[in-house]
């Protein structure tokens, strides 16, 4: 860590001063603009999901099945857009608008797998599919089990 060199520092700035200076000179994220695009793109992706639900419902699926089928369709869409190299371009502007929807989940599954293809199908694609999906499943499934147990004890 800072300030423990064998030779005294040449620069006349303490680590604390330097960190303050860094905070001042580092540009902040443009929160308003980022939030606007997250809202627009995230909203649009969800609206598209609703259109797909409506289509499945019109085709005779029940409410629950239509919703599940739409989620699977959106995963396919997110995966394909990642495959053709479009999703990261959307992500540059949309930020969380393209990360939070399930299409973003698909993106974070495909992106590492695609890129580590050159390391083989088992330890490359197979293992890397779960770089982000793994933690999501670990925390999601564990939480659901805890929820189920609490519900069991409650009743």
């Amino acid at each position: 860590m800072p300030g423990q060199n064998l030779r005294p520092p040449t620069i006349a700035v303490t680590p604390q001063d330097y960190q303050d200076l860094t905070k001042k000179l580092t540009p902040k994220p443009t929160i308003v603009r980022n939030s606007f695009w997250a809202f627009m793109v995230g909203g649009a992706i969800c609206a598209l999901g609703q259109v797909i639900i409506n289509l499945f419902a019109a085709a005779g699926l029940g409410r629950q099945e239509a919703s599940t089928a739409a989620t699977a369709s959106m995963i396919l869409l997110g995966a394909l857009l990642t495959g053709i190299g479009v999703y990261d371009e959307i992500g540059k502007y949309a930020g969380a608008g393209s990360i939070v929807p399930v299409t973003g989940f698909a993106n974070s599954i495909v992106a590492p797998a695609l890129e580590f293809k050159r390391e083989g199908y088992v330890l490359g694609v197979g293992a890397r599919l779960f770089t982000v999906a793994g933690p999501v499943l670990v925390f999601g499934i564990s939480t659901s089990i805890v929820v189920g147990m609490v519900y069991y004890l409650w009743h």
Binding site: L21, L25, S98
Partner: protein, 335 residues
């Protein structure tokens, strides 16, 4: 024996080694930047038909080194050492390029400061009488660096405004004891400084204290002023790091004037959406091997101080929350 070491950290050569040739190879994005015309060779895309980005990077380095040898016109049996380094784990780009070239090889790692480090070590080898000619080269590649240090390239998300764009490119030079070309009269090797920056998306801030420290020691060791140089160029501090370096130098009583700039700011256009500027071993290497060498040869620049800047962290150390150590190596080049 006369000691060539001067002051705190500087070496002044008895017979300044000569840069006999320089060669740069870049990707398409670098060619579209403001320095596009100064590079020797441009690839049509980042992979150029190779089977992986890593192999492509190694090929970049190999082409740059071969180009420098050809231009120097030195027979390969008179090149006694090849000094090379890059950013990939175990410096594989350099190892694989060395496998192809088959010269006695010294692998170097100074992160993005490796070109300046190689020039310094190479000059010492020559002036020390340990080699007739030394080949120095480094490479970096945007896609190999992204996936090693950050996220997969296809992953959607926003890069922070202080983030930099790794240059796809390789630069190489041939150093010799005599002949025509710019000379290296002195070098100042840096020390590692860490002022507590932990954000790997703000590498300029992590490296700036080390750069300022090296510049100050260099000027003090040689009793010089910043204005003794036509150009003081740091390697890849980017806009945030440059602002911080100026502030730190100002507070330390040696403000830098218009002679100071950064290779990371020169290589791309603001329009290219690279945020704080370029980075990577290749950044200072191709800017030096291209633009700066041409301006030295044209007499436009008389004396240049190139300070390679390196962030000495790894993805593992960043995940573990360690702050990022920085280093700066300075090389004086005179026309």
């Amino acid at each position: 024996m006369n000691l060539k070491h001067v002051g705190n950290q500087t070496v002044v050569f008895a017979n300044s080694p000569v840069i006999l040739s320089s060669y740069s190879v870049v990707g398409p994005m670098e060619a579209q930047g403001p320095l596009g015309k100064t590079f020797d060779k441009v690839w049509p895309d980042n992979i150029n038909g190779e089977k992986s980005w890593e192999i492509a990077e190694s090929k970049l380095l190999q082409e740059a080194m071969q180009g420098a040898i050809d231009q120097a016109g030195v027979p390969s049996d008179q090149i006694d050492f090849m000094l090379a380094g890059d950013l990939l784990n175990q410096i594989i780009s350099s190892n694989f390029a060395a496998r192809k070239l088959g010269l006695p090889f010294i692998g170097l790692y100074g992160a993005c400061s490796t070109m300046a480090l190689g020039m310094a070590v190479g000059s010492m080898l020559i002036d020390g009488g340990f080699a007739r000619h030394v080949l120095v080269g480094v490479s970096s590649h945007h896609d190999t660096a992204e996936r090693q240090y950050r996220l997969p390239t296809e992953q959607g998300g926003q890069r922070s405004l202080s983030a930099q764009w790794t240059v796809t490119g390789a630069g190489a030079i041939v150093l010799g004891p005599s002949g025509a070309g710019p000379r290296i009269p002195a070098v100042t090797l840096g020390r590692v400084l860490d002022y507590g920056e932990t954000d790997a998306g703000n590498m300029g801030a992590a490296m700036a204290p080390a750069i300022a420290d090296t510049i100050l020691n260099h000027l003090q060791d040689l009793q010089r002023q910043p204005t003794d140089y036509n150009l003081i160029a740091s390697g890849d501090l980017g806009s945030v790091g440059v602002d911080l370096t100026r502030q730190v130098m100002q507070r330390s009583g040696t403000p830098l004037g218009p002679e100071y700039t950064d290779c990371g700011l020169l290589i791309y256009d603001q329009k290219q959406d690279v945020h704080a500027g370029g980075s990577g071993c290749g950044c200072s290497a191709v800017v030096f091997a291209g633009s700066i060498m041409q301006r030295l040869k044209a007499g436009e620049l008389k004396r240049v101080l190139l300070i390679g800047s390196g962030a000495l962290h790894s993805p593992t150390s960043s995940l573990q929350g360690e702050s990022i150590p920085g280093i700066g190596h300075a090389v004086v080049i005179e026309a």
